[in-house]
Amino acid sequence: MSRCLGPRIADLADGRLAAAEAEKAFAHVAVCATCHDALVAQRAVISRLDTVGPVEPPTDLVARLVGISSTDPGPVPAIPVQGGAGPRPGGATGRRPAGSAPGPVRPPSRGRRGRIVLASAAGAAALAVAVVVGGSSALTSAVVSRPSVAPVVDTLTAEHVASADQMPFAGPRIETVSYVDPSASVSPTPVP
């Protein structure tokens, strides 16, 4: 018996093997219980992913999206400002406490830069997620490289006739199983 497929099971299930290699692999799977079970498990995972139900949007999706622009991006390291190296008034947000006097002009804060970076990164990440989500179906439903069925249909038809003829009461019949062009005229034969 040929060697077990190992990691190539995933390639086989995903249709990433070349046709000749896939043929050999399927022939091995047919006689190897271990690889057969592994292939079945792999396909089960693929089928499961294919049948994942639709994702329902949260009811507060829009509100949360709108709220992102005003969401505190979280603490950022304090940076020195003119007149002192301590924490900024208002904490990490940079907001002044109510009633406090305007402080000295600060250089562009990392908080704002952080928001820009964060927002941009979020956009890029979200688009990336969208692309991945959009492409996941194609990943999970990859056309698996399988044996071609068309060449054997006539063999299957012949097998049917041979089996049916073996049945009791089938009668002494002979069927033409080869393909006959339906457009070819066939002269009716009188009832014997």
Partner: protein
């Protein structure tokens, strides 16, 4: 760009990206793909509501049953030979037949110069059917009655007539059984109007094997593995439909498998079903139909046609070509259905295809298609 403007632009980009991602996620699966195709929890048994209501029938004729039982035994135990004619409204063929008990049936078609005789070995079939099973299936779906008025001579031999009638009282088949031995000498299948749609029978017949008969070598049989109920159950756990019945009262009579490399590079399961008159084969091959298959099927005379609510590749199913072959893909398997003597083969095929629905066309998985579906879903529109 000024910093506030950059901030706004970045935020807008972020919001837009998140919105797109959300919509794409929401629209990632079409609402139509509900999976409500009857596949979950598949046990292999078809709803048999379409089976004839046997209880509504009058009892079988005991004499008819006994004659058919004797005929089933005689077919495998007696030596005989003759010329058999198969006739339909659109053509006929004649074949010389010799049955050698324990060996098989030798067939040589007429009118085909150079054609070699072939041997169909005895005892190959019936993993789910002893001699009595086909008759039991026939009785499940039809009444069998002795019709002495139809007794006649077939190929010069007195024959007893038996008929099969369905639950509605419609005559579906007539059999003429050799009075001396019970061998089936002629069989007719009728359409709903009572007209003969096919007839098979001997025009010459004699008991025994003619002197000098040469038994040809049997062709290699790739269908070597007989399947049992347990092996069919195991196959189902691996995704094969492998049903134990089909719509229309078609019961399983035989199941076998060709190993990988024998018929196809993958193993092929063959199941033979019958309602007593019609025989149907279902072949299951793990795989999918690709573009090459479509081209190959088209080159072999198949056309993609609608059967009920589904589409499949169909060849035949016409009076001129009664042998009907239907190919479709369903749940990781390519299924091939072959029927050659059904009254309405396309209707039979349609019922089977509906029981094992074809894989739907894959949804448009492009980003914008998913976004659009997500948008419709959020806004309550039709996906």
């Amino acid at each position: 760009m000024s910093r506030p403007a950059a901030l706004v632009a970045g935020s807008v980009a972020g919001l837009l990206g998140l919105a797109v991602a959300g919509l794409a996620a929401v629209g990632s699966v079409p609402a139509a793909s509900s999976g409500a195709d009857g596949w979950s929890g598949w046990t292999g048994r078809i709803d048999t509501a379409s089976v004839s209501d046997k209880a509504a029938m009058t009892p079988d004729d005991d004499v008819a049953v006994a004659l058919l039982q004797r005929s089933a035994r005689a077919a495998s135990t007696l030596a005989y030979s003759g010329r058999a004619v198969t006739w339909t409204r659109y053509g006929s063929s004649t074949t010389s037949i010799t049955h050698v008990p324990g060996t098989g049936t030798i067939s040589l078609p007429d009118g085909a110069p150079g054609t070699q005789a072939t041997l169909a070995p005895d005892g190959r079939s019936n993993s789910f059917a002893d001699d009595g099973r086909p008759l039991a299936v026939l009785q499940d779906n039809f009444r069998v009655l002795r019709e002495a008025e139809l007794d006649t001579a077939v190929a010069g031999r007195p024959a007893d007539a038996v008929v099969a009638v369905d639950a509605d009282g419609v005559l579906d088949a007539r059999y003429w059984l050799d009075h001396a031995t019970g061998l089936l000498l002629r069989k007719e299948l009728l359409d709903p109007k009572g007209l003969v749609r096919s007839r098979t029978g001997f025009e010459t017949f004699s008991l025994g094997v003619p002197a000098g008969t040469v038994v040809p070598a049997a062709a290699p049989d790739p269908w070597t593995e007989q399947l049992t109920t347990a092996s069919l159950v195991a196959a189902r756990t691996h995704g094969c439909a492998c049903p134990d019945s089909l719509p229309g009262g078609l019961a399983l009579l035989d199941a076998r498998r060709a190993p990988a490399g024998a018929v196809s590079s993958a193993p092929v399961v063959h199941q033979l079903f019958s309602d007593g008159l019609t025989t149907v084969s279902l072949f299951s091959i793990q795989g999918a139909l690709g573009a090459d298959d479509a081209a190959g099927l088209a080159a072999r005379g198949f056309a993609r046609r609608q059967l009920g609510e589904h589409y499949a590749w169909v060849r035949g199913g016409t009076p001129q070509m009664p042998t009907t072959t239907v190919v479709w893909a369903s749940h990781d398997y390519v299924l091939t259905l072959v029927s050659d003597n059904a009254i309405d083969p396309l209707r039979t095929a349609g019922a089977v295809v509906a029981a094992f629905p074809p894989v739907p066309d894959p949804p448009d998985s492009s980003l914008w298609a998913r976004v659009a579906r997500g948008w419709h879903r959020i806004t309550g529109g039709t996906p």
